[in-house]
């Protein structure tokens, strides 16, 4: 019998459960390795070679090289681990979180200063809030680029 996972219909959200953790084990442990300065230096000097030292899937490596955090999360990454890549790149947590919305850094910061993203329309898949799949990507520049 399947386990009850009531969190699978929350839009724009991947819950890091035991299954995701299993998928992302090596990806997240690679991220942990970046807590050491010498590893950060080696990674920066040759990203692909450093990634090849880890038994990660090819897709996980591509997601890291692309710095696409939504992709990293789909293949088992967790944001607290992925934050080590951001730290290596000199990015703040707000820059990392914002990068997953499609908004520019300024747009995301302005949204937060204005009180953040509303839960209205963003509680369940199928509503019409700004985090729903049919409203992606967010942000003016992205919409222009996509048009």
């Amino acid at each position: 019998m399947a386990l009850d996972k009531p969190y699978q219909d929350v839009p724009g959200t991947t819950i890091f459960d035991a299954e995701q953790s299993r998928l992302g084990y090596h990806l997240n442990q690679f991220c942990m390795s970046l807590m050491k300065a010498e590893n950060r230096a080696r990674f920066k000097a040759g990203e692909r070679a450093y990634l090849d030292e880890w038994p990660m899937t090819e897709e996980q490596k591509q997601a890291v090289l692309a710095r696409d955090l939504n992709w990293c999360i789909r293949v088992g990454g967790n944001i607290y681990f992925l934050a080590k890549i951001g730290a290596t790149d000199g990015k703040s947590f707000q820059q990392m979180a914002g990068s997953m919305t499609g908004m520019s850094e300024v747009e995301y910061r302005d949204m937060m200063v204005s009180g953040g993203r509303s839960a209205e329309g963003n509680r369940v898949v199928g509503e019409d809030g700004d985090a729903q799949a049919h409203r992606q990507p967010q942000g003016k520049s992205q919409q222009k680029a996509g048009a």
């Binding site: 929350v10 890091f16 997240n28 944001i79 607290y80 681990f81 934050a83 997953m100 937060m112």
Partner: protein
């Protein structure tokens, strides 16, 4: 006999620590956050306990995916400051209270809560940011701290009900400690925030303020709220709020005195909530 005299609740946003460490606390953006703690810093000076039992979560610093303890109690004499990737925060080392920590571990495990005993555990912003908010930038923290780390990173995390009952077991353990210690318990994390995916940046003032109301007046009822309600209403990382129920469960069953209450949006990606409750 030791006793728990008060509880403190606060968000533990890493950017708050960075703002303080980099001398940005006076900027208007951050002043709106720090001003909510002016009362609290004076309150802690006037009400310095012998020990702080500090409930927080590690954010992939002390614990990788090699080991994921649901509840971990720090029993060491000293805890180093973690390097989270930006270098360790320039804050004092955290001194523990091994005697009380070991006593609580013994009592609470016998009450059926399977704590993991940890003797080497660098502490991250989850623990140090609340200390900074409440103490400012002292040369040493004002008293020993027992770090109590809860897994809220990998689901399933412990339920609100279990956290509340664990708090009660901690209260009982403290009361049975054979020295007249004044103990505070702090619950940290939250409030509403989501750090991942297209839904990143979610904030829910109504939920947060109702949570504060119920934490004060109806904690046993609040403890029944299922995880999915936190996720839908307060964001995927808002689940950290279950840790506040550990601190609340450790308080007396009588209604507490509300010494201070503060709420502000935003600090970085997060809603900042803060309460000080005193046992009467």
């Amino acid at each position: 006999m030791a006793s728990i005299t008060a509880s403190v609740y606060t968000s533990h946003v890493p950017a708050i620590g960075a703002a303080l460490d980099l001398g940005k606390a006076g900027e208007p953006y951050w002043q709106k956050v720090f001003s909510g703690y002016d009362f609290s810093r004076q309150w802690l000076k006037d009400n310095t306990p012998d020990v702080i039992f500090l409930v927080y979560n590690d954010h992939a610093n002390a614990f990788s995916l090699e080991m994921i303890p649901t509840f971990a109690i720090g029993c060491a004499a000293e805890f180093a400051i973690a390097d989270e990737g930006w270098g360790p925060r320039p804050v004092p080392v955290v001194k523990g209270h091994p005697e009380l920590a070991a006593h609580i571990a013994q009592s609470v495990i016998q009450d059926d809560f399977d704590l993991t005993i940890v003797n080497r555990m660098p502490v991250d912003h989850g623990l140090t940011v609340p200390l900074s908010l409440m103490c400012g930038q002292p040369a040493a923290w004002p008293c020993p701290v027992i770090p109590f780390a809860v897994n809220v990173v990998q689901y399933p995390v412990p339920s609100g009900r279990r956290c509340f009952n664990l708090g009660r077991a901690i209260r009982k353990a403290v009361a049975a400690f054979d020295a007249p210690l004044n103990v505070q318990i702090w619950g940290t994390g939250g409030m509403s925030h989501q750090l991942q995916g297209p839904r990143a940046g979610l904030i829910n003032r109504e939920f947060d303020n109702a949570f504060l109301d119920r934490l004060i007046a109806d904690p046993a009822g609040l403890a029944n709220m299922p995880h999915i309600d936190y996720v839908r209403e307060a964001g995927s990382e808002g689940i950290e709020l279950v840790m506040w129920l550990i601190a609340r469960g450790a308080m007396s069953d009588n209604p507490p005195r509300v010494a201070h209450r503060f709420y502000h949006v935003p600090a970085s990606n997060t809603a900042v909530g803060h309460l000080i409750l005193e046992n009467i």
